[in-house]
C-alpha cells in the first residue's frame, strides 16, 4: 500500500530582498545607530565591532547557582559589569514557625532549624541547644558534650565533601561529584545509626541528647573515619594538582581581608584572606579547648585557597574526632534538666563554627511561654553572599560562577 506524503511548505531559508542592513552586513560594517539585536544599545563601535551591554538572568533554576539563587548580570562581552543578586525563593519563615510552637516549642523550633541548613545540621543544633542552656544556666553531661563535638565534626566533613563535589562540577569536572557522594553515603549511614535519621537528626536536646549512641559507636566511628581518610586522599589526588582546575581557580575571584571583615564574612571565605578567625578557637564552646587542631589560613583569598582550606579542614576534623573518641567517657547523656524547657526572662546569643562559618542563634525568652519569644538565626551564607559583588564584578562570567561556587552557599540557610 502506497503512503501518500502530504505536501509541506518549503521551510528552507528564502533569499531576502536586499535592504540597507543586509548591504552593510555584506561589507562587514556595522549599521550606525541600528543595532542588530533589537532593544540593546550599542556602547562602542571600535574596529568595526559592535559591543553591547547585555542583561541576562541566571537562575533561579540554573545549575551553577546551587539551588534557587538568582542573579541578574549586566555583561559587556564576557565581562560582568554589574551583578544584582536576588534571594528569598526558599523563605519558609523558619523563625516565625520556631516562635509559634504551643507545646514543647523549644524542641519544635529545632525541627525548623534543621531544615534551614540541610548540610550542616549538627553544628546548627549545637548552637541552638547551647544558647538555651546558657539562658537556663544548665550544662550537658560530659559524655553528651563529647558526642556532640564528634557529630559536629562529622557534619563538617559531610558538608565540605558536598562542596568538593559541587565545586568540581562548577569547574567542569563531574568525577568529584561521584567521589563526594560515595563518602556522603558512608557518613549518612553512620548518622542514621546514631540519630535514627540521615539528614535531619533532631538529636540534641537542651541539657543533653535524645538517646544514647549505639553500643558499637566507637567502632562505627573509627570505621567511618578510615573511609573518610581514604576518600580525602582520593579527593586531594583527583583535582588539587589538576592543571585545568588550577587555571580555573588560582587568582580567581579574590577578596581582601579588610573587605571581608567589613562585610561580615566568616568561615573559609574569611580565612582564605589571611584572617585566622575561627569560633572554635577565638570563643571556644563545647570541648574545643581540650582538643588539638590547626586552623588553615590562606594568603591571597582566591578560589583555590578557599578550596584548599576546606580540604585541610576535613583532615583537621578527622584529627579532632580521633582525639575525641579516645576521651569519650561513660556516663549519663541527659543532665538534670526539667522536661518542660522554660528559660528565665532574658536573651542570649551563641555562635558556633559550622561548615560555612560563624553561625549564631539569638534567643529571647519571656519567661513563661513554651516557645522562644524570639529566635533569630544568623546564617553565615547570608553575609558571605554579600561578597559576591566584589568577587564577580570585572571578572569573566565563567569566573563569577567559580566565585559563587567557592562561597559554598546553601540557599535554605540564606533564605531561612
Amino acid at each position: 500500500m502506497a503512503i501518500e506524503t502530504p505536501i509541506r511548505p518549503d521551510m528552507r531559508p528564502q533569499p531576502q530582498p536586499p535592504g540597507p542592513e543586509s548591504a552593510a552586513a555584506e561589507r562587514h560594517l556595522p549599521v550606525v545607530g541600528s543595532p542588530r539585536v533589537p532593544g540593546l544599545t550599542v556602547v562602542s563601535q571600535e574596529q568595526d565591532l559592535e559591543t553591547m551591554e547585555m542583561t541576562i538572568n541566571m537562575g533561579p533554576q540554573h545549575p551553577s547557582t546551587h539551588g534557587v539563587f538568582r542573579m541578574v548580570l549586566t555583561l559587556e562581552g564576557e565581562r560582568v559589569k554589574k551583578l544584582e543578586p536576588f534571594v528569598g525563593y526558599l523563605h519558609r519563615g523558619a523563625e516565625k514557625l520556631g516562635e509559634s510552637g504551643d507545646v514543647e516549642g523549644y524542641r519544635k523550633a529545632m525541627i525548623w532549624l534543621d531544615r534551614t541548613d540541610y548540610l550542616s545540621v549538627w553544628a546548627n543544633e549545637h548552637a541552638y541547644v547551647l544558647a538555651v542552656e546558657k539562658l537556663m544556666g544548665v550544662q550537658a553531661p560530659e559524655r553528651a558534650e563529647w558526642i556532640r563535638l564528634i557529630m559536629d565534626e562529622f557534619g563538617r566533613i559531610n558538608s565540605h565533601s558536598m562542596f568538593y563535589g559541587a565545586f568540581g562540577a562548577d569547574a567542569g569536572a563531574t568525577t568529584p561529584f561521584m567521589y563526594a557522594f560515595t563518602l556522603r553515603e558512608a557518613l549518612y549511614q553512620f548518622f542514621e545509626s546514631v540519630g535514627g535519621q540521615r539528614m535531619f537528626p533532631n538529636y540534641y536536646r537542651v541539657g543533653g541528647l535524645r538517646e544514647d549512641v549505639p553500643v558499637d559507636f566507637v567502632e562505627r566511628a573509627t570505621r567511618t573515619l578510615e573511609t573518610t581518610r581514604r576518600s580525602l586522599d582520593d579527593f586531594d589526588r583527583l583535582i588539587s594538582d589538576n592543571e585545568i582546575f588550577l587555571a580555573r581557580t588560582r587568582g580567581v575571584a579574590k577578596l581582601t581581608a579588610e573587605r571581608a571583615i567589613d562585610l561580615g564574612c566568616s568561615g573559609p571565605v574569611l580565612r582564605a584572606t589571611g584572617v585566622p578567625i575561627d569560633v572554635r578557637r577565638v570563643e571556644p564552646y563545647s570541648f574545643y579547648d581540650r582538643v588539638d587542631f590547626d586552623i588553615p589560613v590562606g594568603t591571597t583569598g582566591d578560589c583555590y585557597e578557599r578550596y584548599l582550606i576546606r580540604l585541610q579542614e576535613m583532615y583537621q576534623s578527622t584529627r579532632i574526632i580521633e582525639q575525641a573518641l579516645k576521651q569519650l567517657p561513660k556516663g549519663p547523656i541527659m543532665g538534670n534538666t526539667p522536661k518542660a524547657v522554660r528559660p528565665p526572662k532574658g536573651d542570649s546569643y551563641q555562635r558556633v563554627e559550622n561548615a560555612r562559618g560563624d553561625f549564631g542563634v539569638y534567643i529571647v525568652s519571656d519567661g513563661k511561654s513554651p516557645a522562644p519569644y524570639r529566635v533569630k538565626y544568623r546564617s553565615p551564607c547570608f553575609s558571605n553572599l554579600m561578597a559576591l559583588n566584589d568577587l564577580a564584578v570585572g571578572a569573566y562570567i565563567a569566573d563569577a560562577v567559580m566565585g559563587l561556587g567557592s562561597i559554598d552557599i546553601v540557599l535554605g540557610e540564606v533564605d531561612r
Partner: protein
C-alpha cells in the same frame, strides 16, 4: 570592657546591662549610628565585625534592634541595642559603618515594618512586593501577624492586612 564602653559612649545616655555573658548597652535610637561609629573607631573597642543584626517585637514597648558586635583584633564582644517606640518605626542606618549591615537591615525592615533612614537600597530581600508595591505577605515577625489565617486563604495564603 565595660569601663571602655562607658568612656566612649558616656555622653549618649547609655543604659548598661548584662545578658548572660555579654555586656549590653542600650542607646537612644537616633544616636545608634554615632554609637556604632565610635565603637568601631575607638582604639580600645575596635568592633570591626557586625556578627548579627536582629529585630525583636516587644509589642507595646516598641521594637528593639539588636547589634551583636565582635572585634577581630582584640577578640572581644558586646551587644548594642536601640529601642524604637511608637508607630513611626525608624532609626538611622549603620551601613556606612559596616557594609555588611546592608542585607541584615533590609531583612529587619521587611520583617518588622521599620525604616532604616539613609539605607542605600531599601528594598525587601526575602519577601517580595506585589503589583501595588506592598510587601507580601507583610511584616511576618511582628507578634500581631497571625501564623495561620482565620479566613480562607487569599491569593498569597494570608488574609489582607487592614
Amino acid at each position: 570592657m565595660r569601663e571602655h564602653l562607658e568612656a566612649v559612649l558616656g555622653d549618649l545616655s547609655p543604659e548598661f546591662a548584662v545578658s548572660v555573658d555579654e555586656v549590653c548597652v542600650t542607646v537612644p535610637a537616633e544616636r545608634i549610628q554615632e554609637a556604632c561609629r565610635r565603637a568601631k573607631d575607638d582604639q580600645r573597642l575596635r568592633f570591626d565585625y557586625l556578627r548579627c543584626l536582629s529585630g525583636v517585637d516587644y509589642q507595646a514597648d516598641g521594637i528593639e534592634v539588636v547589634y551583636h558586635l565582635f572585634s577581630t583584633r582584640l577578640l572581644q564582644k558586646c551587644v548594642l541595642k536601640a529601642r524604637v517606640p511608637g508607630e513611626d518605626h525608624s532609626l538611622p542606618t549603620v551601613t556606612p559603618v559596616w557594609a555588611g549591615a546592608d542585607w541584615h537591615e533590609r531583612e529587619a525592615a521587611e520583617m518588622f515594618n521599620i525604616r532604616f533612614d539613609g539605607h542605600p537600597n531599601p528594598e525587601p530581600i526575602l519577601l517580595q512586593k506585589d503589583e501595588a508595591g506592598r510587601v507580601v505577605p507583610g511584616p511576618i515577625l511582628l507578634k500581631r501577624f497571625p501564623l495561620r489565617p482565620k479566613e480562607p486563604p487569599g491569593i498569597y495564603g494570608f488574609p489582607e492586612e487592614e
